[in-house]
Every structure is written in C-alpha cells, then in structure tokens.
Subunit: 82 residues, 2 copies
Amino acid sequence: MVDFIGFMAAICTTLAFVPQALKTIDTRDTASISLWMYVIFTMGVLLWLVYGLAIDNWPIIVANFVTFALSATILWFKIKHK
Amino acid sequence: MVDFIGFMAAICTTLAFVPQALKTIDTRDTASISLWMYVIFTMGVLLWLVYGLAIDNWPIIVANFVTFALSATILWFKIKHK
C-alpha cells in the first residue's frame, strides 16, 4: 500500500508535465511561465537522473528521464518564444 | 558524493517553484500555465508527502511540504485568474 502511494506520487509528478508541454507546443505562449523555474527544475531533474544512475534505481531513472524530456521541451520553447 | 547529488537534486526541484510562484503572485498572469499540470502535480506532491510520512523519511516530508505550498499557491492563482 505504501509502495503504491509512492508509485502513484511518481506517476503524478512525472505526467503532470505532459499537459504543460502539449499546451506550450500548441500555443507557443510562454509569457506567464517562469524561465528560472524551468532552468532550475530541468537542472534538478538532470541531477535526479545522475543520482538514479549512481544508485542504480530504475524507478528514479525512468521517471526523471521522462520528466527531463518534458521539462527541457518547455524550457526550449520558453527560450525561443520569450 | 552520491548523497550530495541527491540533495542538490531535491533542492533544485523544490526551489524551482519559488520563481514561478513569485512571478504568478506578482503578475497574476496564468494564461500560458496549464491548469491540468498544477492539478496533477499538486496531487502528486501531496501523495509524496503522505508517502514520506508513511515511511518516516524527513527529506521527502520537508521537500514535498515546501513544494506543496508553492504548487498549491500557483494552482490557486490559476483557478482564480483563468
């Protein structure tokens, strides 16, 4: 049960970036999105990925690989369309 | 060293929401922010908090308590000013 809560938590905080990435790709509007949020967040997710690889933890690796792709996409649009 | 990478990762993915929350409070502009991202993300962070409490892990509890406060603030403004 506890593992299931952790699993659902990871699913939510990873997949949450899907609607944001789709909206950003679709509208190209990033005016109210914070550049610094995505700079710091993308760097943080990259560090989580390195951490996951270092301790050989597959859930951390997979979740952060997906989140990195989404977060980096949003950051890319923010930089291109700011 | 590995613990330090994990610690820096947690700091980044938590504090990243500070500039977004400040920008949102300041401008009240949430047009390009995805409602669904913050609905799913805030729920996910709440699940992480429950998970941290269940396994008695203080780093998870503290990081997600802070992230929850920031994410819920952004979600609140998104709902109020959409």
